[in-house]
């Protein structure tokens, strides 16, 4: 019977079926139909890619040599998934809310979106997974070889390399076709998931069928099978405790960390609720798949049934040797399914990582970041992902060719597990410990990976050029405690456990130490909050660490909105009120208070959203939130600048208003003065004109009268001249053309001259002086100074409204200045007029018009010229003018 040909036909039919299923599932999903595609059962079945060909065939081989030890590989995942509420739920929720695309993405995203970390994890995943892919290719070729051996009519063994090549090529086509349909890496691959769900069913049915055949068909029932086990070489439970516990732990870690497991469990997850079903259905699946492993191994080992030489292929050879070709083909399809589903998902997971974290950054860097335009990038991503799949699968094929298949490859399963288990500290630490940071993650991963490579991966090839025999036996540089399989003189340990223990110990140690010593960036801190508090609401409230962790986030957020000092002050006050030191617990009261403070800055809605963001952890990304906070801070800074500007403008406007008022009053004064001066000019002019007209007719006028008229004309003309002189004087002074005639003189003499000039008219105006103080020599323009004195004294005489007017002239020296005060006992100048008295043409209280209102203006100009000043002292009783003059100062002008 042409078994090999039948196998080829069935195999091709099966592959065609897979393509059809994938195609239909993809099309249905794209049409938005088919809710069954995302059912929890499909999800559970897709998790079964955990069971690869290594477990399908290898478990029996494992059991044949070490008894029940193989169970640990399934017990670990069982324990993880029945405790899903603890870890997996959080992992899946974090993955979904952050749109995580791979395990590298998750770790890098958690630690501040560090691309370095992503590249690192990607490379580790590729190194750890490629041999595993090679292992799957090996299992397929070996199983085909087993068929060829049993096929008497066949023309011998087909070339293994060629089989492996065509299998690889088929896998590449399938993976590219259904794995890179969607551009979005975290979009569901319905076709692929459906296909692997179908394969999961096939491999379970195949293994169960072979098991049932072995137990009931060959051994003759349960009792006789148990009896056979008791008689076999593995009749005794001889598992070492360390290995039993260690392997369970290892497989539990690998279950979470394997890139392909992460892909189906987190990335392809449609709904966290599916975990509820998987929590019991997947352990059931694992239990069923391992149920018949020991019986198959024991019956295969029994020479009566001729299971063959290789225990790894008992699943296949047992039906073959006993003439059940149909069952053998089913078993082959089961193994084929295990191998292909693992390779497909692993290739998708790895290609996503490689294209996202290695190819894309390099491409963007190479194009100078200028190509981040729409359309272009999308195509590049797809091409990168397809090429990555091709390269990864080709690497697996190459690895298979190079290693030539054999024991080294068979051992790779556990070696690969230890490699990916290195992600565990960073992953779990990142989900549950706020303090874990980027430096710690890099240090831990590097240490763990280096030790894994040194202690397990490189020695697994045996003595080679990379790791010569001398190093394995005597250690690196002949240092005994650096022996790769007896590190720190831990001799006698089994290599896998030895490497597992040391690599993970150093991984955790470095992760913790560097995390504690390092300081995270703001993005890291926000991300850590986002990840650790992903489930805040569903956990017990008042959890101490969780609470403080939240406060830290709240503080960080508030700082971006309120400014660091204000935010810190608010938090410290709240902490003191609660009796703490730095961070308050996020009690409802405190949250309410903080929300109110925040809403004062950003509005109630935003403040509420910000706080609930931290307290609940919703779908908005941290970067979005930081952007909002930054914007708010910018707006606040801008508006505070606006406030300053507004204040400035208000000040200027006030000054302008004051100046305007003054100008208006001046204008009124000027109008009044102009009418006054025209009147004053007109009066003398009128009389001059009238008298000169009379004088023109000399006949009627007596000489007396003529003389009188002429003197009137003369006086009026003099008055006019004086008025014009004063105007001229002021104009000269103001335009800085005045000439200063310096001469020496004594103050007392100057005052005498002034007093005599004014008081000579004599009308009971009393002037008090203190001659002792007046003995001061001056070097200045004496005539001008006397002019000022005369003006002030005559003003006092004219305007003092006391019954017995008095003027006191006080002389004092002050800070190198001569100060002469002229104070009378009148009622002083009203406040509103004080700033006008020095203006030209101003006369206070229209009533007692005297001069032209130019005297004080002229006097002040003179004093400015002489380097001194003339001010009105507003705080004194009566009218007080103070003349100040520098005693030895240079004279301006």
């Amino acid at each position: 019977m042409a078994t090999l040909n039948a196998l080829a036909v069935f195999c091709l039919l099966y592959v065609a079926l897979l393509f059809c299923v994938a195609f239909i599932a993809d099309r249905t999903a794209r049409r938005g139909q088919g809710k069954w595609l995302s059912s929890p059962i499909i999800y559970t079945l897709s998790l079964s890619i955990y069971c690869t060909a290594w477990t399908f065939y290898g478990a029996v081989g494992f059991a044949a040599s070490s008894g029940l030890e193989f169970l640990t590989i399934y017990l670990g995942p069982t324990l993880i998934i029945i405790g899903w509420w603890w870890t997996l739920r959080k992992l899946v929720i974090v993955g979904r809310t952050n749109r995580i695309t791979s395990i590298a993405d998750l770790i890098s995203s958690r630690y501040g979106k560090s691309n370095l970390l992503a590249v690192f994890v990607t490379l580790m995943a590729v190194v750890g997974t490629t041999p595993y892919i090679a292992l799957q290719l090996q299992s397929v070729t070996f199983s085909i070889a087993a068929f060829a051996e049993a096929d008497a009519s066949g023309d011998g063994l087909p070339n293994q390399q060629i089989i492996a090549f065509w299998v690889t090529a088929g896998l590449v086509v399938f993976t590219i076709l259904f794995g890179t349909r969607n551009l979005e890496a975290n979009a569901r691959h319905y076709g692929v998931v459906m296909a692997i769900a179908l394969e999961a069913v096939v491999k379970l049915i195949a293994l169960l069928a072979v098991g049932i055949f072995a137990v009931w068909g060959l051994a003759g029932g349960i009792d006789s099978t148990l009896a056979k086990i008791n008689e076999s070489a593995i009749s005794d439970w001889e598992v070492s405790g360390g290995r039993w516990i260690g392997l369970t732990l290892l497989s539990a870690m690998a279950f979470i960390c394997l890139p392909r497991m992460f892909q189906v469990m987190v990335v392809e997850n449609e709904n966290e609720g599916h975990l509820r079903t998987a929590s019991w259905a997947f352990p059931l699946y694992l239990m069923l798949i391992s149920l018949f492993v020991v019986p198959i191994a024991v019956i295969g080992l029994d020479p009566i049934y001729g299971g063959g030489r290789d225990p790894d292929l008992f699943v296949l050879t047992l039906p073959l040797e006993n003439g059940r070709e149909g069952l053998a083909i089913l078993a082959f399809l089961g193994g084929f399914s295990s191998a292909t589903s693992m390779v497909i998902v692993a290739a998708i997971a790895l290609s996503t990582m490689v294209s996202n974290h290695i190819v894309m950054p390099v491409w963007l860097w190479a194009t100078g970041g200028s190509a981040i335009m729409a359309g272009d990038v999308r195509r590049v991503i797809l091409v990168a992902r397809r090429i990555s799949i091709l390269v990864i699968l080709f690497l697996g094929y190459l690895y298979f060719r190079m290693s030539g298949g054999g024991a080294a490859l068979a051992a790779i399963g556990l070696i690969s597990f230890v490699g990916v288990a290195q992600f565990m500290p960073s992953l779990v630490g990142g989900l549950f410990w706020r303090g874990g940071n980027r430096t710690g993650a890099i240090a831990g991963l590097a240490a763990g990976f280096a030790l894994w490579a040194y202690c397990l991966f490189l020695p697994s090839f045996g003595a080679s050029s990379i790791m010569p025999q001398s190093v394995i036996e005597r250690g690196l540089f002949d240092i005994l405690w650096l022996r790769p399989q007896a590190l720190f003189i831990t001799e006698g340990m089994e290599p896998v456990m030895h490497a597992f223990m040391w690599s993970l110990s150093f991984n955790i140690l470095f992760y913790v130490i560097f995390s504690i010593a390092g300081f995270p960036t703001p993005v890291e801190r926000l991300q850590s909050g986002q990840f650790v508090n992903a489930l805040w609401q569903s956990q017990v409230p008042g959890n101490w660490t969780g609470g403080l962790a939240q406060s830290e986030d709240l503080l960080l957020m508030s700082q971006r909105v309120l400014g660091s000092e204000d935010a810190r002050a608010i938090f410290q006050n709240a902490a003191k009120e609660q009796g703490g030191e730095y961070l308050p617990a996020p009690t409802p009261d405190f949250l309410l208070k903080l929300e109110r403070v925040l809403s004062g800055s950003v509005g109630a809605a935003t403040a509420n959203a910000m706080i609930s963001q931290i307290v609940v952890g919703a779908g908005v990304s941290v970067r979005d939130l930081m952007a909002v906070a930054d914007e708010t801070a910018q707006i606040m800074e801008y508006s505070s600048r606006l406030v300053i500007k507004t204040e400035e403008q208000e000040r200027t406007a006030r000054q302008l208003r004051e100046v305007n008022d003054k100008l208006t009053r001046l204008s009124v004064q000027k109008d009044a003065f102009l009418s006054q001066i025209s009147h004053e000019l007109r009066t003398p002019m009128t009389s001059i004109r009238a008298f000169s007209e009379i004088l023109k007719n000399p006949c009627d006028i007596s000489p007396d009268k003529r003389e009188k008229f002429a003197s009137i004309i003369y006086e009026e003309a003099t008055r006019l001249t004086r008025l014009l002189d004063e105007l001229l004087d002021l104009s000269v002074l103001e335009n800085a053309h005045a000439v200063v005639n310096l001469s020496e003189g004594r103050l007392s003499e100057l005052l005498d001259r002034a007093v005599n000039t004014v008081a000579s008219e004599g009308d009971g105006f009393k002037i008090t002086r203190n001659p002792e103080n007046e003995k001061i020599d001056l070097d200045t323009d004496l005539d001008r100074l006397v002019q000022v004195f005369i003006n002030l004294i005559s003003n006092a005489r004219k305007y003092c409204d006391a019954k017995t007017p008095e003027l006191e002239i006080k002389v004092a020296r002050m800070n190198g200045m001569l100060e002469v005060d002229f104070s009378d006992n009148g009622s002083g100048i009203p406040l509103e007029s004080q700033d006008l008295i020095f203006e030209k043409f101003s006369r206070i209280g229209e009533a007692r018009a005297g001069g032209a209102g130019l005297g004080l203006a002229i006097s002040r100009e003179i004093m400015t010229r002489l380097g001194g000043s003339l001010v009105y002292l507003p705080w004194s009783e009566g009218t007080v003018f103070r003349v100040s003059l520098p005693l030895e100062a240079e004279i301006a002008g």
Partner: protein, 87 residues
């Protein structure tokens, strides 16, 4: 958050759910302890069949228990949506 505690006291079903979540958290520890038991079995030699029957019995028990607990746990996706509208 304090009102959540109040709710859970007044709402017996929510309280039951929370205790079920506790039970779910204990499941891996419970399972690990049970799976580790054969290591403590004394005697000269322990037959493989005995351990095998024990391990599979425990396994089935865990499947059933996990199914029961998961059924009484809230659907995480629905729960998350509810929580989002809470604050």
């Amino acid at each position: 958050m304090s009102d959540k505690e109040d709710n859970s006291i007044s709402d017996r079903r929510a309280y039951r759910r929370r205790r079920m979540a506790d039970a779910s958290r204990l499941m891996p520890l419970f399972g690990a302890a049970l799976f580790g038991m054969p290591l403590l079995w004394g005697g000269e030699t322990v037959p493989t069949t005995k351990v095998m029957v024990y391990v599979f019995a425990v396994w089935i028990a865990l499947v059933v228990l996990s199914g029961l607990i998961s059924r009484s746990l809230p659907d995480p996706s629905e729960e998350r949506q509810r929580n989002q509208f809470r604050l």
